[in-house]
Subunit: 213 residues, 2 copies
DNA sequence: CCATGTGAAGGTATTCACAGCC
DNA sequence: GGCTGTGAATACCTTCACATGG
């Protein structure tokens, strides 16, 4: 193994592998081959081997990968061993759904704080998290929370992001459909749900012959 | 302009341009240069010109792009002029949030049907849409709805997808964190929210010196 | 003169094929 | 025999630089 920079596309696939490994370990397996993992997650086997080769030797030729060891390796590479606590800003429809969403636990991530500007929401406890006044975002630094999820209206998005940055946040998952300006040291990933739906028609076949299946 | 196949990455950016154009038209503009659009959406100007060059001549050298004309062109390319109605399956926390989400309208897309298996939810009207029994998914064909959004638990995802495919659906936006098997003629886009959050720590700087901004 | 559209160059990621190891 | 790890080949996308048109 050599030290290459890990390609972004590889980083994008690593969580997929992690999910596949967890399913496999629940089924009682101890080892898995790149081929079996490939079948379970829907990626090609050589792609998996190439991806893993960027950051470590995890496999045993003729045997496969020790699942626990590989999962630990991927978690360490993604730094999921160090970052475990996240804050949510914006407890509207989407924000509430995210608070209730169990999927983050899969990756060891926990939403431990929630903020909103609406007085009617402040103080309410949802899924074990008490909603705080958005003015208290600056307490994130002393609480050592450096990861935030933004589910606010796009009009408020840039101002919210600025606050989060000022509070020492280093990574933002943004659901608002807009460009965010942030210092280079802060990573912003924007996930625009409507946009994903909007590119779907392009790939749909035009023909309408009925009775398929 | 020549007829190239449009790169996937370009298709991914087209909805972003569309959003930028709509903001600009609201501000009362009639024409926009690739540079100004670039500034507003956070993409490079030459990238925009290259992307647009794959499917039409929309600009006027020395002037820029007629906003209305370009927006129509992009919508037609993405087939957003033909596909306007979508169905939602799974009216849980996330599904409800999606029903209430105004963002789809931006692209002319409308959720006009909703399904769930929970008897407690069936019959309830949310955001103008009445929740129907999931057993009625097969009525989608006669209603000519070919686009679906899936927000069901991952255990139910494959079975739901099979039903949708049988009902003639041609495109699925899937929020369940799992691989879906579908015929090649059906396009599936999986949007795994937890996965996006999981790759964020990788890009966050390790240093913890306080007092930045 | 200004802004578009596009060949060509450069860079990144995917795919292949196989050497090496268990 | 089976499976990993990786150089090499290929395909794809981005970036540049400029000819072309209003």
């Amino acid at each position: 193994m050599r030290y290459h920079k890990i390609p972004d596309e590889t980083v994008r696939r690593l969580p997929v592998y992690l999910r596949g490994l967890m399913v496999s370990v629940e089924q009682g397996h101890e080892y898995i081959s790149s081929q079996r993992l490939a079948d379970s997650v829907g990626v090609d086997a050589w792609q998996i081997r190439k991806d893993l080769s960027y950051f470590g030797d995890f496999g045993t030729p003729g045997v496969g990968y020790n699942i626990e060891k590989l999962a630990r390796g991927i978690k360490k590479t993604l730094r999921l061993d160090a970052i475990r606590r996240a804050a949510l800003v914006g407890v509207g429809d989407l924000g509430s759904a995210l608070l209730a969403y169990p999927g983050f636990r899969t990756y060891g991530l926990d939403i431990v704080a929630a903020f909103d500007v609406d007085p009617a929401k402040i103080g309410v406890v949802t899924n074990g998290v008490k909603v705080e006044d958005a003015a208290k975002i600056d307490t994130l630094r002393q609480r050592e929370i450096s990861l935030a999820i933004m589910a606010v209206p796009w009009e408020a998005a840039q101002a919210t992001a600025d606050r989060l940055v000022a509070a020492g946040v280093k990574g933002i998952l943004n659901f608002a459909p807009c460009k965010l300006v942030a210092p280079r040291r802060v990573k912003v990933i924007t996930l625009d749900i409507a946009m994903e739906l909007a590119r779907l028609p392009y790939y749909m076949p035009r023909s309408e012959q009925a009775g398929d299946m």
